[in-house]
């Protein structure tokens, strides 16, 4: 499959995970990500790897925990309500410093919400979600090809930093079909040879001292110290792993900030604005944590208007405001609960914000 193929995002991502050396996939049915587990149930068997349909998302994330604790590359996928159930496990994975990949094909919420595409889980993904001070690396792909390309990177960074990686997609990215190239790397399994060996993994203490994977430290000050160690790791990730695309930002009077499918829509609106001579640009965070605060802050020095477009009531906008830090106006526009912004709606918002008052 080195040729271009037409696949839906969920299936293409799943194949990419197999090519990235995923040893085990665990999942529980939930729309709109069911193509992942259906695809995995067939392909993982062909590859003689592990596929389990678990009894719940709680079990799925803990199966990931178990496989990951033995050093195997493992993953799960779900959609918003299921990801909420996994938060306990994600906190434990973060605390025990276990690598894994978690795919969230977001749907409308809160509660059972609906099965339409949404971006309402930004806070949950980048601000912790579960209990305690922790982060996961979070990616926000904006198309099927990027969904595919991020998977091996997510596995590698998860292994490198011993941290859970979340791929925050949405119902559109998961369901739509696009031509993609899936990099072939079928020899890769468990361990990317370019990364450090997993000496911490539980493999049986044959001829060596016992390894322990845990998230409990009862000694006085031990968890405080563990938190400082985690934070030091997070600062390294913030320094080295930010990914973001900038499009026509240099001369822009209005800079849109959007991720995922919202960024595709925003880009369409920017093209229309440019056709009419409105200088609009786009900053598209690819990593949502670490967040491209520096790139946004530098852009803010040029004093454009920022327009943040999300399929939510405004979540990422808070991080944009922090990055801009009062230097320039930040305006939010979005639609929650499965409402999908149109190019026209975003374009109108751009026009509204860039119309210069007529001279008297």
């Amino acid at each position: 499959m080195t040729d271009k193929v037409l696949m839906c995002g969920n299936e293409a991502m799943a194949e990419s995970a197999i090519q990235a050396g995923c040893d085990a996939y665990f999942g529980y049915p939930i729309t709109p990500q069911n193509e992942v587990s259906a695809y995995m149930s067939k392909r993982m068997a062909e590859e003689k790897r592990v596929f389990i349909q678990s009894e719940s998302e709680l079990a799925a994330i803990n199966m990931v925990f178990g496989a990951s604790a033995t050093g195997k590359r493992s993953m799960t996928s779900s959609s918003s309500p299921g990801i909420s159930l996994m938060q306990e496990g994600i906190s434990y994975l973060a605390a025990a410093e276990l690598p894994c990949v978690i795919v969230n094909v977001m749907r409308g919420g809160p509660g059972l919400g609906n099965i339409a595409p949404s971006q309402g889980d930004y806070f949950q993904s980048v601000k912790g979600g579960g209990h305690g001070d922790y982060h996961c690396i979070v990616f926000g792909p904006s198309g099927v090809q990027e969904f595919v390309d991020i998977v091996p990177l997510a596995f590698d960074l998860a292994d490198k930093y011993r941290i859970p990686a979340i791929i925050l997609a949405d119902g559109i990215i998961g369901q739509m079909m696009e031509p993609v190239i899936i990099p072939q790397n079928s020899k890769l399994k468990t361990q990317n040879p370019k990364l450090p060996q997993k000496n911490w993994a539980l493999t049986g203490a044959d001829g060596r001292k016992q390894n322990i994977v845990r998230s409990l430290w009862l000694a006085d000050g031990a968890v405080e110290q563990h938190n400082y160690d985690l934070q030091a790791k997070y600062r390294q990730i913030e320094k080295k792993e930010v990914l973001c695309e900038q499009y026509k930002v240099d001369d822009a009077d209005i800079v849109l900030v959007a991720y995922g499918i919202s960024a595709r829509i925003a880009r369409g609106a920017i093209e229309r604005a440019r056709e009419l001579g409105i200088k609009a640009g786009l900053i598209r965070p690819i990593t949502l944590w670490p967040f491209p605060s520096e790139q946004i802050s530098k852009t803010a020095d040029k004093l454009p208007v920022f327009l943040v477009v999300e399929m939510s009531c405004g979540q990422m906008v808070e991080d944009v405001r922090l990055a801009v830090s009062g230097k320039a106006p930040v305006v939010f526009w979005g639609r929650p609960g499965g409402g999908i912004p149109t190019v026209e709606q975003v374009f109108e918002k751009i026009q509204e914000l860039t119309i210069k008052p007529k001279k008297k």
């Binding site: 085990a24 009894e55 079990a59 199966m63 178990g66 990951s68 033995t70 493992s74 016992q210 009862l218």
Partner: protein, 245 residues
């Protein structure tokens, strides 16, 4: 020549434990360590510690170990065993862990016929958190959350997990033993050994050994009286013997 007839198991570390005087965890740990030594599987065994009094079990067992979220050990064990079929995986879980918050995980691990060894410590209370009612608490038993004694009306009956599991085709061996006197402790060791051997022999299904274990602290009994309480009270609801396999 003096002959040494008794020594510490290699799989147990040489350190004091945090368990209360008269607690059954020490006996259970010892039995598991002896079995692991005798079967020669220390180098390929991975243990799973629960949330509860045995949360620090990795400080006592000298094998690779993981400590997991409350009740989730059978799911974690599933992830480990499926990706490492050559390893011997055991979970060590109390009655709060396995019979309350982790009921779904243990039932479905058995239902899927996971090739795991589960050690289920039933001491009829939540020990770690201060002696609250567990699903296994006896009727009339006074705990921190049943000050009038457990009443069936409103608090339900003692939950017989081993009996529940034994009807599942995926559970291939279920036995309940008592840690209350030397003959029963010897039977418990034989049961544990069988449960590990089944996994070593690649038997297709889950093995579980339930151990009725004394908690003198939260039963408010002396250690000898706690042993008698197992015999005289607990075994009425939790009869000893092989339920399956």
């Amino acid at each position: 020549m003096m002959q040494k007839v008794f020594t510490r198991s290699k799989t147990l570390k040489d350190c004091p434990t945090h368990y209360c005087p008269g607690c059954g965890h020490g006996i259970a740990h010892r039995l598991i360590a002896e079995v692991v030594d005798e079967l020669g599987i220390r180098g390929k065994t991975i243990g799973i510690a629960p949330v509860g009094c045995a949360v620090l079990a990795y400080d006592y067992f000298d094998v690779d170990m993981v400590e997991v979220a409350h009740g989730r050990a059978p799911a974690v064990a599933t992830g480990m065993k499926r990706t490492n079929p050559d390893k011997i995986i055991f979970s060590y879980q109390g009655d709060g862990d396995l019979a309350a918050i982790g009921t779904a995980e243990i039932i479905h691990a058995a239902h899927r016929a996971e090739q795991l060894t589960v050690v289920f410590i039933n001491n009829a209370v939540f020990g770690m958190t201060g002696g609250q009612m567990a699903p296994t608490t006896m009727l009339g038993q006074i705990t921190a959350t049943t000050p009038q004694g457990r009443q069936a009306d409103g608090q339900g009956y003692p939950l017989q997990v081993s009996e529940l599991l034994s009807i599942l085709p995926g559970a291939i061996y279920i036995e309940r033993c008592g840690l209350n006197n030397p003959p029963n402790i010897r039977k418990a060791k034989a049961a544990l050994k069988h449960a590990f051997e089944l996994q070593m022999n690649n038997a297709k299904g889950l093995s579980l050994v339930e151990l009725l274990s004394p908690c003198p602290t939260y039963w408010r009994l002396t250690p000898p009286d706690a042993m008698l309480w197992i015999q005289n009270e607990m075994t009425k609801v939790f009869p000893l013997g092989r339920l399956k396999g």
